[in-house]
């Protein structure tokens, strides 16, 4: 009996250790606590269907981007151009469909090629030059920030492209990317399902496939990874292209949903993606993290974004909240990261 009790307690300890060591455990706890806090502070308004719908509707674009940016961060790189690349995708599909009269599906495909090329450019430059991706993608950020607006004005005469719903193929593309379920104001967009699916697939790739193993290795110690035969350069370029694909998806989804595109949007969003990834437990220096974590990180942003005005506070506090959240999450990750080896008696 005693033996069995000891064995059970050891099993329990091992299980709790394993759960507590998961990278996303902090973000899940934070999301739960924040939701409970704002539910009380808003006197129950948080748990109404319409509020939940708004939380998810705020979170999904950040969620999709944070998943890709988080995977890139685990692979050891950043992408500061991810925010404006969303606008690039929207501007491109807008110009091609509205101004040139292309079918929206074809415009979406061509827009994807543009984004993939930009992602490949980011990746190749980082791999070839050996410069920090922070610098390379900052260059891309400014390049796109200028090009989005300049090209939009050049082709349409305005930084705002409208009437995408008059283009051919709108109904079918809208059905795929922006259908709503439920009756307003309790309506959920299909985008939330895309976000969930994307999270599940990328999480599976990271944890269950050999590519995932290579991503961890490429971010953790590129020299050792190369010595073991991991194609580090190819992995990094692919991760930049995946981030560009996510930006494309969010960009065209918003374009068909709102039937208009602001060429100047997206500036500053890259920081939200990075914050969501870090809050979700991704290590800033690479080699460690999760995919569910960044998704939860984006959900935290949705909870705070909707919760702060619901609680009756000035919505400008959102930004201050974001700053505190980033600092606290990074400190916790740093603390946990330092503790981990000593737990095993290193």
């Amino acid at each position: 009996m005693v033996d069995r009790a000891i064995a059970l307690s050891q099993l329990w300890q091992r299980w709790t250790n394993r759960v507590m060591q998961r990278p996303e455990v902090g973000s899940v706890a934070a999301a739960s606590l924040l939701f409970i806090f704002f539910s009380i502070a808003s006197r129950g308004a948080m748990v109404e269907g319409s509020t939940l719908a708004r939380i998810f509707d705020t979170a999904w674009p950040y969620g999709i981007m944070a998943v890709a940016v988080g995977l890139l961060m685990i692979g050891g790189e950043y992408d500061l151009s991810a925010g404006v690349m969303v606008a690039t995708a929207g501007t491109a599909i807008g110009i091609m469909a509205v101004e040139w009269g292309l079918n929206l599906w074809l415009a979406a495909l061509l827009s994807l090629f543009i984004c993939l090329a930009l992602g490949a450019w980011n990746g190749m430059m980082v791999v070839r030059t050996g410069l920090p991706s922070f610098v390379i993608t900052l260059g891309t950020f400014f390049g796109l920030r200028g090009a989005n607006v300049a090209l939009s004005k050049h082709f349409t005469g305005d930084a705002l492209i409208e009437n995408l719903d008059e283009a051919a193929g709108f109904d079918s593309l809208h059905a795929v990317l922006a259908t709503a379920f439920g009756t307003p104001p309790e309506d959920f967009r299909v985008s939330v399902l895309w976000w969930a699916g994307f999270t599940i697939i990328i999480s599976w790739v990271l944890w269950r496939t050999k590519i995932g193993n290579w991503i961890f290795a490429a971010g953790g110690d590129p020299a050792a990874a190369r010595a073991n035969g991991v194609p580090v350069s190819a992995i990094k370029i692919s991760l930049f292209m995946l981030t560009a694909t996510a930006a494309w998806f969010v960009g065209i989804s918003n374009a068909v949903r709102y039937t208009s595109v602001q060429a100047g949007q997206g500036v500053g969003d890259e920081f939200f993606f990075i914050i969501a990834a870090v809050v979700g437990g991704c290590r800033m220096a690479g080699g460690y993290g999760s995919i569910v974590g960044p998704s939860i990180g984006a959900l935290i942003w949705g909870i705070a974004f909707i919760g702060i005005p619901q609680a009756g506070w000035n919505s400008d506090w959102r930004w201050a909240f974001l700053g505190v959240l980033l600092l606290v999450a990074t400190l916790i990750n740093h603390y946990v990261g330092q503790r981990a080896p000593s737990e095993h008696g290193d």
Binding site: R14, R18, R208, T209, K210, G212, N213, W214, F216, A217, G220, D221, A223, A224, A225, A227, N228, G229, V230, R283, G287, Y288, A340, P341, E343, H344, D346
Partner: protein
């Protein structure tokens, strides 16, 4: 973690050193631009033996080792494996032939779990096409089994490599090389960064690995580590193989004398005294 217990696994019967060499090196030379780094090295390596490669920095011992691992290209000579001539032009090729190197710092990725490290770059998969998964169960059980073969209880396979002690790290790297088909194992200064106890563990492991029939090339500047486990000593001096001695033919002090300058030093001392 746990030190390997000698009684944890019955010692396998030591295979007698086979009379045929696994690797025959003849007249090997390496040149970099105008500099001759290695010349006229001819030596046979036998399975089941620990062959220690000793010498000063710049004496040519790492040039020799790197040539065998496919990291630099010999300018002369040839190498035979199992009696057949082979060209060792890349680390990948050397590995395919069963020659594995364990480097001090490039062995394991610190933040990666042990089972992920153990199969990095050679992941076992199950499933079909793009749905094929890294077989984690196989990886975990194989890691534990391979470590047990070396008499090491590695504990939780999900712990990260940075939680390992220096000795355990070497043990995992050696077990990994053996699992992936190492017949000739090159260990580059495996005990240099270790304390006495950890070094002892690793040296015992090296001995045990040799007894299972692997040919081991041990590079280390520390004679107090290499002499007890070595069967043979290749002494490199100024790009030449200066001596090839079996343990019976040389004492530790004689080897030490050779390494600290040997005859040259006596000449200098004699010259100084005669002044």
């Amino acid at each position: 973690m746990a030190e390997p217990e000698p009684q944890a696994e019955p010692a396998e019967p030591a295979e007698p050193a086979a009379p045929t060499p696994i690797l025959e090196v003849s007249d090997l030379g390496v040149r970099f631009e105008q500099v001759t780094a290695l010349e006229h090295v001819s030596v046979d390596i036998y399975p089941g033996e620990v062959t220690c490669v000793v010498g000063h920095n710049g004496a040519g011992k790492s040039v020799f080792i790197k040539a065998l691992c496919g990291l630099n290209h010999p300018s002369s000579g040839h190498v035979k494996l199992d009696g057949e001539q082979v060209s060792l032009d890349s680390p990948r090729r050397a590995r395919a032939l069963g020659i594995f190197a364990v480097h001090q710092d490039l062995a394991l990725i610190p933040l990666l779990s042990l089972w992920r490290n153990f199969f990095l770059g050679a992941e076992p998969v199950h499933g079909w096409g793009i749905f094929s998964e890294f077989d984690a169960h196989y990886a975990r059980t194989t890691l534990i089994a391979e470590m047990a073969k070396l008499g090491v209880d590695i504990g939780d396979p999900d712990r990260t490599a940075r939680t390992l002690s220096g000795g355990e790290r070497q043990a995992v790297a050696i077990a990994r090389a053996l699992h992936h088909g190492a017949r000739i194992l090159v260990l580059d200064e495996p005990t240099t960064a270790l304390g006495v106890q950890q070094a002892g563990t690793v040296l015992r492991l090296i001995r045990r690995t040799a007894e299972r029939g692997t040919a081991i090339l041990l590079v280390s500047p520390r004679l107090e580590h290499t002499y007890p486990v070595g069967d043979r000593f290749l002494v490199f001096q100024r790009g030449h193989l200066a001596a090839d001695l079996r343990k019976e033919e040389v004492t530790r002090d004689e080897l030490s004398e050779m390494l600290s300058g040997g005859g040259e030093r006596h000449e200098i001392e004699a010259a100084l005294l005669s002044e």
